[in-house]
Structures are given as C-alpha cells and as structure tokens.
C-alpha cells in the first residue's frame, strides 16, 4: 500500500469514527506525544486499567502504564469500579469508523467494556478499508480469522428509551488515539 492510499484511509477512518460519536485524535507515534495525549485524555480518572498489548511499540504502551492512577494488578472488584480503560486496537475500519479489538490478552476484554471511558491506541498502518477485510486470510496474517474480535463503533448506545442515548452498559465515551 502506498503512503497516499493509507493517508486517505486514515482520513476516512477519522471522519466516520467521529460520525459514530467517537473522539479521535491524531498523535505522533512516539512515547512523549502519546504520554501527553493520554494524560490529557485521562484527566479526572481516579483509576485506570491498561491492557497488555501486541502490536503497539512497547515504549508507547509503557507510556500508558506510567500514567498516574494506573491500577497495577487490578482485582475484579477494582475493574468493575474503574474510570478508564486503555487498550490497543487490532485494526481500524475506515468505512465504518470502527476499531476492532482482539480479545485474549490480559485485561483487554475488561478494559474495552467495563469502564465509562475507553481509550484505544490505533496504529495508522492497521486501518483497513471495510469490516469484511479482516476476514481475509491475506490480511494481518489471517489473524482476524482466528482471534475473538469485537468491532467497536462509537460508545455504547440505545434507542430503547425513546431518543438515542449514548452510554449504556458499555463505555460512554470512546477516545481513539490514532498513532501516525
């Protein structure tokens, strides 16, 4: 994929993710920049859960771990009451503005679901065009076909209580840091 094409995918992703009520910020993929962005994003959070990672560079993930208020080895009770969860994304989907989270690594399922704020680290190079691209054996080594996945499009929402309400059982806010 050429640089131009991937730039376009990122642009489409940002537009659609915002359309789905996610907060999207483009951040330079460096420890310093990510650390700064995360500090801002987690302001007011008294307890933060950071999931293990697989694709984001270790020094970037360690920026997340060194935030104040990160729970080192959270108990289930702490998970249930925490304010923010930080996970990385397995992939991003341009056409729908979704992030795709792969489960299986410690704390990923909990940190992407239980807290009111979910912060996601997405590498720009992992954005595909359409959701179905992750069901292609040729993409990301076919890992999308073997992992437990959740496509997350904006915060949790319901139309069951009359007008659309954002923030139901799942996170109320989805904050995506797009790492370029």
């Amino acid at each position: 994929m050429t640089a131009k094409q991937s730039a376009t995918l990122a642009e489409i992703f940002v537009k659609n993710a915002r359309g789905a009520a996610a907060l999207v910020e483009t951040v330079e993929a460096s420890r310093g920049a990510v650390s700064e962005a995360l500090q801002k994003a987690t302001q007011g959070a008294r307890s933060i859960v950071v999931a293990n990672g697989e694709w984001v560079a270790p020094e970037i993930l360690s920026a997340a771990r060194s935030l104040p208020n990160v729970l080192a080895n959270p108990s289930d009770e702490q998970l249930a009451r925490a304010d923010a969860g930080i996970t990385e994304a397995f992939a991003g989907v341009a056409s729908s503005g979704s992030i795709c989270v792969a489960l299986g690594t410690p704390l990923t399922a909990a940190a992407s679901l239980l807290m009111p704020l979910h912060i996601v680290l997405l590498s720009a190079g992992r954005i595909v065009e359409r959701p179905r691209d992750l069901f292609d054996e040729a993409r990301f080594g076919g890992e999308g076909l073997r992992r437990n996945l959740v496509f997350i499009t904006g915060p949790s929402a319901t139309a069951d209580m009359g007008p659309l309400v954002r923030g139901v059982h799942g996170p109320h806010r989805l904050h995506i840091l797009l790492l370029e």
Binding site: S98, F151, A157, D160, M161, P163, V168, H169, G170
Partner: protein, 757 residues
C-alpha cells in the same frame, strides 16, 4: 377510530391478543395498536427505514453482497445436517458443549440441567428472539431462578410481561413518555426520569449489579460458523458483551438455521445486517467469539472464581421440517435484520403486536410462526398486502410476499367456505381448490369476473353499487367497506373504446407494441388506456390493445394460487403470441405489470418463458423514455410544458410494486426533463394496496398508512401552492382522490396533454 361502544381498545393487553389463530384477536390487536402504539412505532420504523436507504446506498457493492449472502445461506441450509456435525466437533474441540434441542421443552430442560449443575440463582440475558420462542424465562423462573433481561427493551417487556413488538427493537412501541410512566409505577420512584438519559441511567444501575453477580449469561447468536464454532453477536448497548464475558457459564441459544459453513463468510453479513436493520454502518458492537473465552471469568468478593463453561443450544422446533417445505424453507435464509418490518407500510402503523404473533412479527414473521408453531398462528400475515417493498430491502433476497400468499392459501383451505362461497365460486372461474374458501376471498380474487359483468351492465351495476342497500350487501357478503367509493364501471371498456380510435397510417412505425388490457384499466379507468394509445400513436408506435384477460394478480393476492397460476399461464401465452409478432408488451396498472416482471417467476412452470416475457414487458412511460433514448430525441422536442392543463407543479406518487420493479424512476426523470417541478412521495405505499384498503376489517389500517402521503401532499403545497396529483396505480388514485377529494391524473394523461402537435 371507529370502535363504537365497546370498552376502549387500549385496555386490551398485548399478551391477550398475541396469538391470532382466532381472527378476532387480529382485529382487536389492530384496534389496540392503532389507539395506543401507533405514534411510537411509526416514528421508529420510519427512522430505521430511512437510515436503511442511506446505509445500504453507501455500500458500493450492495447488490453483489446480497447475492453472496443469499448464496452462503442457500448452501448452508442445503447441507445443514453435515454442518451440524462439523459445528459439534468444532465447539467440543474447544472445550464447549453442543446440544440440539428438538422442541422448546427439550431446550428448556437441557438449560435447566446446566443451571442445576452450577447451582444457578441469577441469569443475565441478552436479547434473543429464539429464547422468546422457547419461553425460556418462564421455565427458568418456574425453577426459582432469577432472570435479568439486560437489553433495555427486553427490560421493559419483562416489567410488563409483553411479547416483543419488533424483532430487533422489541419495545419499539413504547414512547419515552410511556416508559417514564411505567418505571415510576413499577419502581415506585420519585426520580424525575424525564429523559432518555435518566431512564437509561436508572436501568443501567439496576443491571450493572446483576451483571457482576450473575452465575450465568444467556445470549442468542446472529450467525454461527460451523468450521470454528464462532458466534456473531450484534448489539449496541454492551449488555451482550457483558453477558458473554462476566459470568462463568455462557449459554448461547440459536435456531439451527443460524449456522453457516465458514467463519470467513461472516464478513459478508457484518455490514449487510447492520445497514439493513438499524441503518447503521455497523452497530456499536459486533463480536465474533469462539467460546469458552480464554480470559478468566469474573469473581466479585465472596464468590469463588469458576472455570469457564460454554453451551451452544441449537433449536430445531420445526426448522428441519421447514427445510423440506417447498415455500417455507425460504424463511430459513432470514438473518433477522428487520428490514422487512421497517419497510412495511402496514407494520409502520400497527407494529408487531398486531402484525405479529407470540414471538415473530412483520412480513417474515408469518412464515416463522407457522414453521415453529401452528399454521393458524400465522393469521396476522393477512396484514401483508403484497406491496413488495420488503423484497428489495431483504439482504438475502427472500420474496416475502410470496411466502405470505402461500400462507394465505393454506389458511384459506384450512378455514373453509363461508355462506356465499359456493354460488360465487360456481359463477366465477375459480379453480376447484380455490372454490372452498371464503366468499370475500373469491370476490376479490376473481375481481375480473365481477368487473366484466359490472362493466357489461355498467349503468345497472353503477346504480346498484351506488345504493346504500347495495353497499350493505357488499359489506356483509364480501367485506367491502361501505365508506369506500367504488370506481364506477366505464360506459365503454378499454377494449371497446380502442376499436373506435384511428390507427396511424402512412408512417413507418418506430416500434410495435401491445397494450395489455389489464382488469383495472379495462373495466375501471379505461380513459388512461385510451390516453396511452393516443400518446404512443402520436410517437409513431404501432400499438394495439390485447384481449381482456386476468393476469392473476387479484387471485394471487387472495392466496388463490391455483387460480393465479391458471390465469398467469393463459396471460403468458397470450402476450408471448404478441411478442412473437415483434411487439413489446405495455402494462398500465403497475400491480399487473409486476406480475409479468416479478411474480410470474413463481407462477410459470417454464422459467425461460418468464425471462422472455420479463425482458419485453414495460411500463408505458418507461417505454416512451426508451423510445426517446433510442431515437436520440430530447423530451423538450416532443413535449411542451406550457401546454400543461395543470401547470408545471406536480406531486407524483409511484405505485409500491412499480418502485420495486424499478419502473418509477423513468417517469420521474421524464417529467423533470420536460420541465415539471416534481415533488415525489417518499412513502412506501399509499395504504390502499390493491384490494386491501377496500376491506372493512382493514379500512382503519389503510387510512392510518395513508395519513403519511396526505401529510406529504399538504407539506409540498405549503409554500408554493397547489400541485397536480399524479399517480400510476388504480388503487393509489382512489386513495388520493377519496382522501383529498382531488382530481388525480396518470402520467400518460399528463404526457398526452403536453404533447406538441
């Protein structure tokens, strides 16, 4: 409302009228929903439907994706027994359990056993229609287990003990105001709860504690991949993720038809289901899980952490029998997206508590209720008018009207004849199998016969039909609502009047065609046929009128399929003779045209004959557009808008079936090209839908549907003044004429008027 004297319909509870095997329950449910639920249902279905157009339109290969989805489902259902084996091995290979339950009782018994093994006290449930079908909550609660429905819609229904009114938004019939009142009453709370946010927060708090304490989570599954045992779960609230992740035991309950061969094919459905159902690019969460999950289950203080356990409970309950049914097997392709509910004009005003049974609702719901229960439970499918707007909305291309026409046939046979049936069947040409059904069905289904005699004795029949006594008799015997104006029979039928027209002479014709003398034009609005002939002759088309024979629409709509087949085959042979002479076939009445272009695919034995006819059959304005395109003439060279007797401002309503077969756009385009200022209706149907709106039992539904188009006309005329009403269908014309008390023209009449001489 015309509910006279009796106690208010609003006091009927949805559960009381859920089973509509007794037809009186259908009528009571219609009254109740129109009185209580209609505003919320209309708002929500129309919102979903509008979004669907946007979301499906944004998928670049939407049609190809639908073809692929259909193919995957067809293949899966064909080899279902084999896939059950594969899936069993895959799930067991991962340490899960699989159980195939023959009946609802069998499924509930198995689930209770699992509950017993784990000493289950609290179950959290995600929304699952299949669990409704097997009455799982009743079984669990009967065993003393607390069930917490965690989908907010199901949370509401659990409070009120109501059945779902919609397959993806089960409490769609509740407005915010009604939910506020309900919560205040049930929870005895002083909290204001005056907004969706407050209500959501209130329910979330109650449910969060349940999630954390639950011993078991029960979910459905939108699809299941046989090769990997992966289940696809679509939701927006996060409750299904919670139910499948937090408790140690997860049971997924799903019909066997949810199985497809391979996980890689799930990608095809991902966008398609979201776009078709809620009209989203994707719902908030779509999970692909191959349980049991690797993550440890949750354990709050005081509870031991248990190893994960996963059970996949697959429900047969008639599905394997449906698989053998020549018609109902189509329903097994359904992915339960709800597009057919939201696109349905009748569903939009009554919702699933009238247009639905104990579990399933909407156009596809009849086949499901019949397939998983009794035929009589599908009686609500009478509310399907065959308008066909769901056909293009269905992501797996199920011909839902055809399913309902077949259910109607089976119900007709089961119900047997009424008082006048024998006489009516004897004098009309109903097929033997269609003779032992109700008189109303025979009357509407053999309309051509009664219309023929009505027209032959036009002045007498118009006089009789004009009397109060005549209308009372028609209402009693045939169920024709006396509030409807019946279009008068013309003094001369189209066939007779056409003989008196001058043929074109001396010019080389640009094309040769036959105008099919459909029943509605020939014995009803014959002047439209004459206008079409004059228009086409002026454009140098050598055009004739066919003999007047029924094409089978009326019979088909009444579920008289044997009669429809006989009539269809005869009409097919007649038009093929014309095609053989190098003539194209033009059909004015869109419901008749749709027979040639769509429904004949079911009625004609010879599929090649259907293809031949379909390729040569046109809506007259579509034909004119094609002619202009071929001769490279511009619309303005031939038509002059300054001649318009109604001015340049028009409101055009295309017939429902005309839109489905793609014949509405050419009319709209041509009228614009000529220079008309066109506003088009955006309703799916005017509500008359052929004979539907004439029936006494459905008059109120028909008028409730019509309210939308009446409102659209009013809105279109608000600023710029009156617009001429243009409609292509005979029954749409009557709905607009009767409801707005205005003249309604057919596009060919308008085109003839603006033709340059």
């Amino acid at each position: 409302m015309t509910d006279s004297g009796s106690k208010s319909a609003g006091t009927v509870s949805p559960r009381e009228v859920a089973n509509k095997s007794d037809r009186r329950n259908l009528l009571r449910a219609i009254r109740m929903t129109l009185e209580v639920q209609s505003p919320a249902i209309r708002l929500n279905t129309q919102d979903h439907n509008l979004r669907r157009y946007g979301a499906t339109g944004a998928i670049p290969d939407y049609d190809a994706l639908k073809d692929r989805a259909r193919q995957i489902k067809e293949e899966a259902i064909a080899k279902l027994p084999e896939l059950l084996e594969t899936l069993g091995s895959a799930v067991r290979g991962r340490g899960g359990h699989v159980y195939v339950a023959a009946t609802p009782e069998d499924a509930c018994r198995y689930i209770l056993e699992v509950c017993g093994k784990h000493d289950t006290k609290l179950v959290v449930k995600g929304k699952s229609m299949t669990s409704e079908e097997i009455h799982l909550n009743r079984a669990l609660e009967g065993a003393g287990i607390e069930v917490a429905e965690s989908d907010l819609a199901e949370f509401i229904l659990q409070l009120t003990d109501e059945q779902p009114s919609h397959i993806t938004a089960p409490a769609m019939h509740y407005s915010r105001e009604r939910i506020t009142a309900l919560f205040k009453r049930k929870f005895q709370t002083e909290l204001p709860l005056d907004s969706g946010e407050e209500l959501t927060k209130f329910a979330r708090r109650k449910l969060r504690e349940k999630f954390l304490r639950a011993d078991m989570g029960i979910t459905g599954a939108n699809l299941i991949a046989a090769d990997t045992g992966t289940i696809m779960l679509i939701e927006s609230e996060g409750n299904i993720r919670m139910s499948s992740f937090l408790p140690p035991v997860h049971i997924a309950v799903a019909g066997v038809e949810k199985i497809i061969s391979a996980r890689r094919d799930m990608g095809v459905f991902l966008e398609l289901v979201a776009a078709s159902g809620t009209g989203q690019k994707l719902s908030s969460y779509t999970s692909f899980l191959s349980p049991p999950l690797e993550e440890p289950s949750f354990a709050m203080p005081g509870k031991p952490r248990k190893p994960r356990e996963f059970h996949l409970v697959l429900i047969d309950n008639g599905r394997l029998r449906m698989r053998e049914d020549p018609v109902l097997h189509e329903a097994l392709y359904c992915v339960r997206c709800s597009a057919c509910l939201n696109a349905c004009p009748n569903f939009q005003v009554v919702g699933g508590h009238a247009f639905g049974g104990e579990t399933y609702s909407g156009g596809i719901g009849g086949a499901w209720e019949a397939g998983t229960g009794k035929l009589a439970n599908a009686r609500f499918s009478e509310l399907c008018t065959g308008c066909s707007r769901c056909v293009t909305a269905c992501p797996v291309r199920i011909d839902i009207p055809w399913l309902n026409e077949n259910l109607r046939e089976r119900l007709n046979q089961a119900d047997g004849p009424s008082a006048m049936s024998g006489l009516l069947a004897a004098i009309s040409s109903a097929e033997k199998t269609d003779a032992r059904i109700s008189a109303a069905r025979i009357f509407f289904g053999n309309y051509h016969f009664f219309a023929k005699w009505g027209a032959r004795l036009a002045s007498l029949s118009n006089a009789v039909v004009g009397t109060k006594l005549g209308r009372i008799a028609m209402e009693r015997w045939f169920g024709v609502d006396r509030r409807r104006t019946l279009p008068p029979f013309p003094e001369k039928t189209l066939v007779r009047a056409a003989r008196e027209l001058k043929p074109i002479k001396g010019v080389q014709p640009r094309a040769k065609a036959v105008l099919f003398a459909d029943v509605y034009t020939n014995y009803g609005l014959a002047q439209r046929g004459i206008a079409a002939i004059r228009l086409l002759r002026a454009l140098d088309v050598d055009i004739r009128v066919s003999e007047a024979i029924p094409e089978g629409r009326a019979a088909l709509s009444q579920g008289m399929i044997a009669t429809a087949k006989k009539q269809g085959m005869r009409a097919a042979a007649a038009v093929e003779a014309h095609i053989g002479e190098g003539r194209d076939i033009l059909v004015l009445e869109p419901s008749a045209l749709a027979m040639f272009r769509r429904d004949f695919s079911h009625l004609l034995e010879d599929k090649k004959q259907f293809e031949r006819i379909r390729a040569r059959t046109f809506e007259p304005v579509e034909f004119v557009s094609k002619l202009l395109g071929k001769s490279r003439r511009k619309a303005k060279d031939i038509f002059d808008i300054s001649r318009s007797p109604v001015g340049p401002q028009i409101f055009f309503h295309a017939h429902c079936q005309q839109r489905t077969i793609g014949c509405a756009a050419p009319t709209e385009a041509l009228l614009r090209e000529i220079g008309f200022d066109v506003v088009t209706s955006s309703v799916e149907c005017c509500g008359m839908a052929g004979s539907f709106g004439y029936k006494k039992d459905f008059y109120d539904v028909s008028m409730a549907v019509a309210a939308d188009i009446f409102e659209q006309v009013t809105a279109a005329e608000k600023d710029g003044g009156q617009r001429a009403l243009i409609a292509s269908g005979t029954s749409c014309t009557e709905q607009l004429r009767g409801g707005l008390n205005r003249v309604v023209m057919h596009p060919v009449e308008l085109l003839l008027a603006v033709l340059k001489t």
